[in-house]
């Protein structure tokens, strides 16, 4: 089976015609997992019930209820709850936690009969850009195993890039899907905030998190997005249908022609090779008839700084629930206060502890106004300038990541250097607009390049449109 070139539509067609069975498709992927996972550490666990899932999917083909995702092997990030299965968010504090319910996205995938193959490695609680902070070891980039796959959804990216699943889900709080997509040569979509339900996702920053798909091509990502983008009343930030209809983009905005580039944001700090690739990509788009315009986003210059105040604030609140009392890792020594302090001190890894304390600091009396309050005001400014920019352009383009995939072990002792990997990711999460990372060729060392587009709220179709066009022209 040619998994390298397999797409959802091709697989669906073959399953429908009976060229192979769901079980055989699954076995092809399991074979690769068997061969590669030990080295790459993409999966933390392959679920024991995969063959039952395949059998249920096969029945759907037999009785005519199969849909596009039926029998499609999909990997999920370790922070997405799947009832009866372990979900550890890459953390020791949840090493023994069994999910007591299904996340909304899992419910939907189950209904369609997709095969949920296993859970993938991630930076602890999605905190990181390299999948090196997991309590379950580092993961490796399939293009060069001495390098990081990006993060935090590194395992889900590797699973697709190394043909250990056809598609996968991650979560993107500030580039956690787009950055690993860039490092592993994939398409990664951060949907509009509120498009996909966050119910059953172990939260990092609630005002920023989105479930986000990976695929080898734009069409696969589009299929997964369209399938999962639904209102869910159990997520209060899920956008109801009435508002979705109101926000529905015009026919014109779905066929983008004007691309804005905020050149001033990357005058410095971008690797020369990445810069050259970005300029070439823009040149190719220009030749194909797109208008490339220079735009200014003055407040977005501060987006990563604002993000590193808002996110830890939300982290410190969210992670307060892990206390060694009701579930998860617990050290029962001493009195109640000791249980809290020891369970949390031993259960959380270094980056999680760092961010919890940082969040506690920026929210504390005396610093609240200078940090948190200022940051959310800047966020408002970023949001309005991004929305305003879309009055004159259809899309905004930047490199996805300022640097190529780096070596394992690099940047671990320098948090700010690590945080800077996500500098171009922050504006989309802070403003809630959708954003896509697209493969843009490879460098001399055979490492992938990537470019990123942002579109107005709920204009994912515009991203798919340019993405498909770019797939045609990028090799020219």
């Amino acid at each position: 089976m040619d998994l390298k070139n397999l797409t959802i539509e091709k697989a669906h067609e073959s399953l429908r015609k009976g060229e192979y069975a769901c079980k055989e498709l699954l076995e092809a992927y399991l074979g690769n997992i068997e061969k590669k996972n030990k080295e790459l550490n993409a999966y933390l666990e392959v679920y024991k019930d995969v063959f039952e899932q395949a059998e249920a999917a096969q029945k759907k083909f037999a009785d005519g209820t199969a849909e596009m995702l039926t029998g499609i092997p999909i990997a999920i990030k370790d922070n997405i709850l799947f009832e009866g299965h372990t979900s550890s968010a890459g953390s020791k504090i949840l090493e023994n936690y069994t999910a007591s319910y299904d996340a909304f996205v899992i419910k939907e995938l189950k209904k369609a009969g997709a095969i949920i193959v296993g859970r993938t490695n991630m930076d602890e609680f999605a905190m990181g850009s390299s999948t090196q902070t997991s309590a379950y070891g580092v993961s490796r980039n399939p293009h060069d195993t001495s390098r990081v796959p990006g993060g935090s959804s590194g395992g889900s990216a590797i699973a697709v890039a190394a043909d250990m699943s056809l598609v996968s889900l991650g979560t993107d709080t500030c580039g956690s899907v787009r950055e690993p997509a860039a490092f592993c040569g994939l398409v990664g979509l951060k949907p509009t905030y509120g498009a996909l339900s966050r119910n059953g996702i172990i939260a990092m920053g609630n005002s920023l998190d989105q479930v986000a798909p990976f695929g080898k091509n734009v069409r696969d990502v589009e299929i997964v997005f369209n399938f999962l983008s639904k209102y869910d009343k159990k997520d209060s930030t899920s956008i109801p249908d009435s508002l979705r209809n109101k926000l529905a983009p015009s026919a014109q905005s779905l066929k983008p022609t004007k691309i804005g580039v905020p050149w001033h944001l990357f005058e410095q700090g971008v690797d020369p090779e990445v810069m050259e690739n970005f300029k070439n990509s823009m040149e190719k788009l220009k030749k194909s008839g797109y208008e490339i315009l220079d735009i200014e986003l003055p407040f977005s210059k501060y987006s990563l700084e604002a993000y590193y105040i808002i996110m830890p604030a939300e982290v410190s609140t969210n992670l307060a629930r892990f206390d060694g009392i009701r579930y998860g890792y617990s050290n029962q020594a001493g009195n109640l206060l000791d249980v809290y302090k020891k369970s949390r001190g031993e259960g959380f890894g270094r980056e999680a502890r760092r961010r919890i304390l940082l969040g506690t600091y920026v929210l504390s009396h005396g610093y609240y106004d200078a940090y948190y309050n200022k940051a959310i005001k800047i966020r408002e400014k970023i949001k309005s300038e991004v929305v305003q920019a879309f009055e004159s352009v259809d899309l905004i383009a930047t490199p996805t990541v300022p640097v190529p995939p780096f070596k394992i072990g690099e940047k671990l002792d320098d948090p700010v250097a690590m945080y800077l990997c996500d500098i171009f990711s922050a504006p989309a999460n802070l403003s809630g607009v959708p954003s896509i990372a697209l493969p843009a060729g490879k460098n001399k060392e055979n490492l992938p390049f990537s470019i990123q587009f942002m579109a107005p709220h709920f204009c994912e179709d515009a991203l798919f449109n340019i993405g498909k066009k770019f797939e045609e022209i990028r090799r020219e």
Partner: protein, 90 residues
């Protein structure tokens, strides 16, 4: 920030730290705060922040959920007769 601030934050966040880590965290915070501090220079005109976000509530009506009691109770670190057991508080 000094080492006492780190200790105070750790106390508030209920996280036990080793002496060695306190020092390392202090160093990290110095560099992270120096970085995020640049937002201080940002001049914001007098905007009444128009937060277009609001709370979304639902009626406070009990609804059934399909949770398995065994799955939840079975994960309690300490329990007695099917109840969650915590250490003496008073």
């Amino acid at each position: 920030m000094n080492i006492q601030d780190v200790e105070n934050l750790a106390e508030l966040a209920r996280i036990e730290l080793t002496e060695e880590e306190k020092g390392a965290l202090l160093k990290d915070f110095d560099s992270i705060l120096a970085y995020v501090k640049t937002i201080e220079q940002v001049k914001l005109d007098e905007i009444a922040p128009e937060y277009d976000v609001k709370n979304v509530w639902r009626e406070d009506k009990p609804e059934t959920r399909e949770f398995s009691r065994e799955l939840i109770v079975g994960q309690f670190p300490d329990s007695q007769d099917g109840f969650l057991k915590v250490k003496k508080i008073l």
